[in-house]
């Protein structure tokens, strides 16, 4: 077993894939923090599902598995989905949650239809296109990792440069606007960052599960720290570790898909944090309550005794 682990670690493909999924996890953790704080977790889910028809149609158009073009297709259908959600909630009686699930499932359905049509096609290039549903990290190439890293660098830079503006807007958008910070610019940047994070994670984690990677790390991190910077850094670390550990587990077994494994690892982080975090965790809260109750009881007993 140990030798197997060691041989995996020294394997070039593993190193490459682990690095790639690690960076995706890190970015999802950091950028996803904005999504959870703005209570937009579901939007990420809708956007990632909506990316599938874009990917499939982009392939139909260029007939090659060129990652850049496929991602472009994903962005375009993501934007269309967002526009539809906005139009639905603004101008009709459809509520946001209904609009989100409608768009999510209809776009995903369309994606599956197009994908199936492509698979019945003799083009050999289409092999592996299916991997966008559950993700297939092993398909990652060196230039994919380079692309992920450069997009990631730009995103992290934006977080640093707009730190104060993003923080203020996420906490109190009305106040931020009253100070003169354009909500249009900030909204645009934040949504673009979330969309890009989803897009670069699609190939390895898949459209169905990427939103878990976006939401999970910041939820877990929030349990351990009370500062935005702390939450973001810890969410980044949890995301990175989930990517690496998930890739490791899936490389050890036979045909264990990477995306779902990564998401399972994230979920373990989330549950452990919810249960065992100091002060905020369920266990800590339970112990505190028991202690308090004992204390109150003792005080009451003392009072009774004093009376007698």
């Amino acid at each position: 077993m140990l030798t197997q682990v060691l041989s995996v670690f020294t394997d070039y493909t593993f190193q490459l894939v682990a690095l790639g999924t690690g960076i995706i996890g890190l970015l999802s953790g950091v950028i996803g923090t904005y999504a959870t704080l703005r209570k937009e977790s579901l939007l990420g889910d809708a956007l990632s599902h909506a990316a599938l028809p874009g990917i499939a149609l982009a392939f139909v158009i260029i007939q090659r598995k060129e990652l850049m073009f496929l991602m472009l297709g994903a962005v375009v259908s993501g934007i269309i989905a967002t526009a539809i959600i906005q139009v639905m909630t603004r101008n009709t009686v459809v509520k946001l949650d209904s609009a989100l699930s409608l768009v999510l499932s209809s776009f995903f359905g369309l994606g599956l239809v197009v994908l199936t049509a492509i698979q019945n096609n003799p083009n050999a290039q289409q092999a592996g296109l299916n991997s966008f549903i559950f993700g297939q990290a092993s398909a990652m190439l060196r230039r994919d990792v380079q692309l992920i890293s450069s997009v990631g660098l730009v995103l992290l830079l934006l977080v640093v440069v707009f730190w104060k503006e993003f923080k203020c807007y996420t906490f109190d958008p009305m106040f931020s606007r009253s100070l003169g910070f354009s909500s249009k610019i900030i909204e645009f940047l934040l949504s673009m960052m979330i969309v890009l994070t989803i897009i670069i994670g699609l190939e390895s984690v898949g459209v169905i599960l990427i939103s878990a990677l976006l939401i999970g790390p910041s939820i877990a991190a929030r349990q351990w720290t009370h500062r935005l910077s702390g939450v973001m850094i810890l969410a980044g670390i949890i995301g990175f570790m989930s990517g690496v550990i998930g890739t490791l587990i899936s490389s050890l077994g036979v045909r264990i898909p990477t995306g779902p494994t990564i998401v399972v690892v994230v979920s373990v982080f989330v549950f452990v944090s919810l249960l065992f975090a100091p002060k905020q965790g369920y266990v800590a809260k339970y112990i505190l309550r028991q202690k308090k109750q004992k204390l109150f009881k003792k005080r009451l007993d003392e009072l009774e005794e004093a009376k007698q």
Partner: protein, 249 residues
């Protein structure tokens, strides 16, 4: 000399097809403590949001007076106007400290990209002292009581060092101690010549706290000095009438 701080001219605001504010014309005098009262849904919050450029009107305009006594739109002198939103409008579980929230009051002066400096941090510290929370700087905002939250919001507005303070229900659901601290600070601002506009819900305290009053219920029902305008007739007109403005003749 012109001593009008804010001039609202024929302001009409509508969400979708429904008018929320109808043909509001008001002048707010500088250096006064002004109460805005009216029932729920009367458009009080919408009115102050349109003063802050947060809501765009269907018709009419709001102008503020700058240091040269010129009437200009909000966007040209936002650093002279501080806004205190309702404290229920934000998520107090947001991971941040009291000090960082108060520091946000300095962001307008800093503009894009610039980080708060020592001067800004000193101002934030000073304002926390003023609202009676000097030891709370590093406290988690999730641990604050309702009254403390409101005082943190006031400290943030004070940190803006503005000329006009526009506040949405700063006394809603706060404890007596907080109400006392807030009103003392607002009185001090007015005595320094600043203008304070407060959306207020408690008719019992109007006479003790305010100089001027505006009754609104989608339209302006009455406006003027409290001793002349605050009477049963205007209260009844404002609170006991089903209104349907903007329809028919």
């Amino acid at each position: 000399m012109n001593d009008i701080a804010i001039n609202i001219d024929k302001l009409t605001v509508a969400y979708d097809a429904q008018p929320v504010l109808w043909n509001i014309s008001l002048k707010f005098q500088k250096g006064k403590m002004i109460a805005i009262v009216g029932p729920n849904g009367a458009g009080k919050s919408t009115m102050i949001k349109s003063m802050l450029g947060l809501v765009s009107p269907v018709m009419g305009s709001v102008t503020h007076q700058d240091e040269n006594q010129k009437a200009v739109p909000y966007s040209e002198l936002k650093n002279r106007i501080a806004y205190v939103p309702q404290n229920t409008s934000v998520d107090w579980n947001f991971p941040t400290t009291v000090r960082d929230v108060v520091l946000m009051g300095r962001y307008g002066h800093l503009g894009w990209f610039k980080r708060p400096r020592k001067k800004d941090k000193d101002i934030a510290k000073q304002m926390l002292l003023k609202v009676g929370l000097p030891t709370f700087a590093k406290r988690q905002i999730s641990q604050l009581s309702g009254g403390q939250r409101q005082r943190v919001f006031l400290a943030r507005a004070l940190a803006q060092e503005a000329e006009v303070y526009i506040m949405d229900e700063p006394l809603a659901g706060v404890d007596m101690k907080t109400e006392h601290i807030i009103m003392k600070l607002l009185k001090k601002l007015v005595s320094e010549g600043k203008t304070v506009l407060v959306v207020h819900h408690d008719l019992q305290t109007v006479e003790t706290y305010f100089d001027e009053i505006v009754f609104i219920n989608q339209e302006v029902i009455a406006a003027g000095p409290v001793d002349q305008t605050f009477n049963k007739q205007n209260i009844d007109l404002t609170y006991h009438r089903d209104r349907n403005v903007g329809e028919g003749g």
